[in-house]
Structures are given as structure tokens and as C-alpha cells.
């Protein structure tokens, strides 16, 4: 069976071709169906650019991308939208729409009625709202949402699209811990129940290692490590990639965590790396 998405030797520079502003210098990455991969890396490492290449918004200077075994350039926008959903890092929601209407817009790739929604569309919208914990927001206007509520609406939109491949650019941004965990649980449920492949840019290493069985680390335009979190997120790698010293510690229940050593004694934020 072909991979959900496969990228080989992706290179990209701003503006096209200039080596000085090279963002991606040969990225190889493949996701199977039913796989959830967290893409981590410091700011400016090329994560968002990589996602924009994978969704065809940018053309790579070199390299190949295929989705479900077919080269990206041979997909039409309409075909792609029926299989692949993208949650962008930032999206201005048009303020006059109600949340339910926005989530229904994400059904556009499946639209079959000239002027309205089918019962299947409504079911999908209702399910997506529920899974993103946004049902209570259904009648609210987009202009009156808080940052966290907006993010849950965006998540609901990408779920309503009922994709087989989900590309998420920081799905937990603006979310408090409870909602961040809720959103990642919903995504994980999609993966395990429906075999959806998920590539998620996540900044919180603790969340990444909790929900993803596989973590890919992007650093200076290359994937420098790719594998299970407990093998990838090592103190040496984190020190090299993020420039932060971390210390290993073990919790009372025997789980290994990494604690950043921050001068000044600010509250350290442990990074869970599994229970080996």
C-alpha cells in the first residue's frame, strides 16, 4: 500500500533558487495511513514552509511529493480537498458567519446540492463540532470568539472535511492545556478509528511525545531525527537543535522526563518522553 504522503529530497529557498535564504535543504519524510507524526523544530526551521509545499501552495525548487501514491501536481484542487484537510497556522474567520456555517463551508469539497447542505453534510458538521468541543459555539458569530474558541472552530472545520490525510500547523496554539489535550485526543481518535494519517506541527514537546508515536525533528532545513519520542527527544539533540540545556529526571511513577535548565530559576517545564 502506498504511503499517505511521501516527500523526497525537498529543497526550497526564498526567493526561488537563492542559496542565501535556503529554507529546506533536502527533506525526506513519509507517513503511512493511520500514522500520527509530530513535526517539531525551533522557530524558523522551515516547518510551515514544509507544510505549504506538501499542500501545493508552494512549489519545491527540487524534490518530489506524492499523496496516496499519486504525484501532487497530478491532483486537482477539488480532488485533493476531498482527501486532504489543512489546518493553517493563522486564519482570519469572516466575522459575520455563525460557527455552524463556517464548519459547513468545510464541506464544500463534498458539496452535492446547488444551494444547501445534504443530511450527510449536517451529520459531519455536527460530529466535527462535537469532536472539537465546539458544539456550544455553533450559533456564535465568528467575530465574537476568543482565540481558543477560534482554534477549536478551525479544528472542527478540518474534521468536517472528513479527510484521509490531515495536515495541522500548530493545532494547539492559543489553547489552554485541557483544550489542547482535547483536540489532540480527537485527532488521535480519528487516526485510530478511521486510519487517518496526521502530520502535526507541535511546539510543545511534552504534548508531542504524549500523543505521537513518531516525532520528526526539523532543524536548519533538514530532518535531523525521526522516530519514537523516547529515542528522538534526547538531551543532546534538544540541546543542539533548540539551544536549551535539559536534564533527565524520573517521576515517581517511573516515567522519564526532560527538564529545561533555565537560568534564573523559572518554573521548569518537563518534557515527557515515554515510560521506558
Amino acid at each position: 500500500m502506498s504511503a499517505a504522503i511521501r516527500a523526497d529530497g525537498l529543497r526550497f529557498a526564498f526567493p526561488a533558487g537563492s542559496p542565501a535564504r535556503s529554507v529546506l535543504r533536502g527533506v525526506d519524510l513519509a507517513l503511512d495511513r493511520g500514522e500520527l507524526v509530530a513535526l517539531v523544530g525551533p522557530n524558523g526551521s522551515g516547518k510551515t514552509t514544509l507544510l505549504r509545499l506538501l499542500t501545493g501552495l508552494l512549489r519545491p525548487d527540487a524534490g518530489r511529493i506524492s499523496i496516496f501514491g499519486r504525484p501532487l501536481e497530478r491532483w486537482s484542487r477539488a480532488e485533493l480537498a476531498r482527501r486532504v484537510a489543512v489546518l493553517p497556522q493563522s486564519l482570519e474567520l469572516p466575522p459575520g458567519f455563525r460557527v455552524a456555517e463556517l464548519v459547513e463551508m468545510a464541506r464544500a469539497p463534498h458539496a452535492r446540492r446547488l444551494f444547501g447542505a445534504t443530511p450527510e453534510d449536517r451529520d459531519a458538521v455536527e460530529r466535527a463540532l462535537l469532536e472539537a468541543d465546539a458544539t456550544a459555539l455553533a450559533d456564535r458569530r465568528a467575530g465574537a470568539l476568543s482565540g481558543g474558541e477560534r482554534q477549536r472552530v478551525l479544528v472542527a472545520m478540518s474534521l468536517a472535511q472528513e479527510p484521509d490525510l490531515l495536515l495541522l500547523d500548530e493545532p494547539t496554539i492559543h489553547l489552554d492545556l485541557a483544550h489542547a489535550v482535547g483536540v489532540l485526543r480527537a485527532v488521535e481518535a480519528l487516526r485510530s478509528r478511521r486510519g487517518v494519517a496526521v502530520l502535526a506541527v507541535v511546539h510543545d514537546l511534552a504534548l508531542a511525545s504524549t500523543f505521537a508515536a513518531r516525532v520528526a525533528v526539523l532543524h536548519e532545513g533538514r530532518i535531523v531525527a525521526d522516530g519514537p519520542p523516547q529515542r528522538v527527544l534526547l538531551p543532546s539533540l534538544i540541546g543542539r537543535v533548540f539551544g536549551v540545556s535539559v536534564e533527565e529526571a524520573t517521576t515517581r511513577d517511573g516515567r522519564r522526563v526532560l527538564v529545561p535548565l533555565v537560568a534564573g530559576g523559572a518554573l521548569p517545564r518537563p518534557v515527557a518522553v515515554g515510560d521506558e
Binding site: 501552495l57 477539488a78 458567519f97 459547513e104 463540532l129 456550544a136 450559533d139
Partner: protein
């Protein structure tokens, strides 16, 4: 924190009932404005009499007896003008809604990418050149008629949009910001040429000024048919693309992720809206503010969903321009563009101040 399932069914768009109320309300508004405009004038005719005359002429079983002169005034003089006003208002209202979606900016109007300046150059050129070069007029078989002025305005508007669109192309697409700025720049050049022609216009000056200010005084059945067909076709085709218009409000990247071929769609929408605008401008000149205010008001009242926004903007544009033209006739035949600007602009300022707290943000 825990989700609760709503008991009542999920509403994901305007219900058929709400759509019917909005559209029937808009239709009634247009009808009432039309009856009022038919009744007003130097010869007083009751609004119901006016509707009765029109009703009988189009074959409805209407009882009543009217003087032949009254029938002539209503049918031959006022009705073409009223209907032309409706067509022009509908075209401007609908295309204003489309350009506001395309630019994700409620300040956009139908003239934003050069239709007005292009039409002006076409019309003013057709009015002035014969006076500058009598040989040209003679070759054309005497004074050039209004038909040529209108055809020239229509062609000028469409050609300008085509030029602006081509100039704004960079690489694989047409960024809307570039489109906007190119529209301004090209309009400025054309406006300068129009100003030069006005300076040279001589005895055509009055006709030139009247055209630029916008007027429905020259309305007749023949051109009404053509403009009506063009505007109707454009608005219907635009309405069928409501889902794509809604998707564009999410921004171009997200619209693409939801399956829209964005560059092609921008071109199609621009050309359809330009077609409606050009047809309107060709018969009525450059009438301002209707295309800006109508969609703006409708959005405040019924929301941004183009299923309703587009037809309701067309209806409100039609009603507003019909009333404005009735006002222009009552005020002694001043250009209707003066009325729409005099009333529309202060009204718009008021609206802006009132709604500034909830004004939609423009795309960065």
C-alpha cells in the same frame, strides 16, 4: 468543558423560510420604489394607477380606464427609465458585493479596478472626438448617436478591466493587492486622458459632464433590453458561484485547501462582475455609492452568506437607484449621480461611525 449536544437541529445556512422572507421583502421594496417612481413627475399619476397601466400592458387582467396620454407617459417615458434604474442599481449592487468578497474588503466598489475610468474614456471619447475631427463624424454618417457612446463606454470598461488584470499578473497568479493598486494606477492615467478630452471638448462639454455625473435621462426600451439581459445573466452566473464566493472570504490559501481553483475563480468572478458593471455604466454613466452602500447595508442586515447577500444586494441596489432617480427628476432633472453621492456619502459616513466597533477587518 464537556460538550453538550444541541437539542434542536443544527442550522448551517439561511433556512428556506428566511431566504423567502428576505428575497420577497427585497422584491416588494423594488416594486414599491418602482410604483412611486412611476407616479412621481410633472404629471401627477397615482402609484396604483401607474401599476395598473403597467399591469394591463403586460397582459394582466386589470380593470380601469386611463387617458391615452397618461398611458403613454407611464409606458413610453417613465417605465423604461424606472426599469433601467433597476437594472443599473441591481448590476452595481451585485458586482459591489462580488468585489467586496474578492478583495475581502467592505470598502471595495464596482469601479475599483477601472470600470468607471475605462467607461468614461470610452464615452467621453465618443462624445468629444467627432467635435474635434468633423471628418470622423461625417464618416460615421452625421452626429454619432447615443448607441455608439454606450457601446464605446461598455467596450472601454471591459477593456480596462482586462488591461488591469493582465498588468497585475505576476508569475503564476494575480495577487489582489497588486490588482487593486494596478486598478488605481490605470484609472489615474485614464482619468487624466478624460480630463484632457474634457478640456478640449468645446460644444460637447454639457453632454460630457452629464454623462460623467451619471444619468438615466436617456433611457429607452432598446438599450434597456440589452443592458437588462447582460446584467441578469451576470448576476445569475455569479449567484451560482455563491459557495466559491463564501470560500474566498476564508482567504485564498484556505479556499484552495477546500478545493477552489483560486486563480481561475478570481478571473471568472472579476470578469462576470465587470460585465455587470460595464453594462450598467454604459447606459447610465458613472453613478457612485450604490455599489458600495447596497452590499454593505445588506451584509449588516442579513449577514455575509452570498446565497442571500448577492441577490439581496441586487434588489436593494435596484430600489435605491430607483428612488434616487425619482428624487433627481423631482429636483428638476439633476444627474442621479449627484443625488446618490449627496445622500449616499453622508449616510455611508454615518454607517461607518456607527459600525466601526464591529467593522470587518480587511485582509493584512
Amino acid at each position: 468543558m464537556r460538550a453538550t449536544v444541541t437539542a434542536r437541529p443544527l442550522v448551517t445556512g439561511p433556512t428556506p423560510g428566511r431566504a423567502a422572507v428576505v428575497l420577497a421583502g427585497g422584491g416588494l421594496m423594488v416594486l414599491a420604489a418602482g410604483a412611486l417612481a412611476l407616479a412621481l413627475g410633472t404629471v401627477g399619476i397615482g402609484p396604483l394607477d401607474a401599476l395598473g397601466i403597467v399591469g394591463r400592458r403586460i397582459g394582466l387582467p386589470v380593470d380601469g380606464a386611463w387617458a391615452p396620454s397618461t398611458e403613454t407617459i407611464v409606458w413610453e417615458i417613465r417605465l423604461p427609465r424606472v426599469l433601467t434604474g433597476m437594472v443599473v442599481g441591481a448590476g452595481l449592487g451585485a458586482s459591489g458585493a462580488v468585489f467586496q468578497a474578492l478583495f475581502r474588503n467592505p470598502m471595495a466598489d464596482p469601479y475599483i479596478i477601472g470600470t468607471a475610468s475605462g467607461a468614461s474614456l470610452g464615452a467621453v471619447g465618443a462624445l468629444v472626438l467627432p467635435t474635434l475631427a468633423p471628418a470622423l463624424a461625417a464618416a460615421g454618417g452625421g452626429p454619432l448617436g447615443t448607441g455608439l457612446v454606450q457601446a464605446s463606454a461598455f467596450a472601454g470598461a471591459l477593456a480596462t478591466v482586462g488591461l488591469v488584470y493582465a498588468l497585475a499578473r505576476s508569475g503564476s497568479g494575480v495577487p489582489v493587492v497588486t490588482l487593486l493598486l494596478t486598478g488605481y494606477a490605470v484609472s489615474a492615467v485614464l482619468a487624466a486622458i478624460v480630463a484632457l478630452l474634457i478640456f478640449l471638448s468645446g460644444r460637447a462639454l454639457a453632454a460630457v459632464v452629464a454623462w460623467i455625473m451619471g444619468s438615466l435621462a436617456g433611457a429607452s426600451w432598446g438599450e434597456l433590453g440589452l443592458a437588462g439581459a447582460l446584467v441578469t445573466a451576470a448576476v445569475v452566473l455569479l449567484l451560482l458561484r455563491w459557495r466559491r464566493l463564501n470560500l474566498l472570504l476564508l482567504g485564498e490559501s484556505q479556499a484552495a485547501h477546500l478545493g477552489l481553483g483560486v486563480e481561475r475563480e478570481k478571473l471568472v468572478l472579476t470578469m462576470l462582475a465587470a460585465l455587470a458593471t460595464s453594462a450598467a455604466v454604459a447606459v447610465a454613466g458613472t453613478i457612485g455609492f450604490v455599489g458600495l452602500v447596497a452590499p454593505h447595508l445588506v451584509r449588516l442586515a442579513v449577514g455575509p452568506d452570498h446565497r442571500l447577500l448577492l441577490p439581496a444586494s441586487a434588489l436593494l441596489g435596484a430600489a435605491l437607484l430607483t428612488l434616487a432617480d425619482a428624487g433627481a427628476r423631482l429636483a428638476g432633472g439633476i444627474p442621479v449621480g449627484v443625488v446618490t453621492a449627496l445622500i449616499g456619502a453622508p449616510f455611508f459616513l454615518w454607517l461607518l461611525r456607527r459600525s466601526s466597533a464591529v467593522r470587518p477587518r480587511a485582509e493584512p
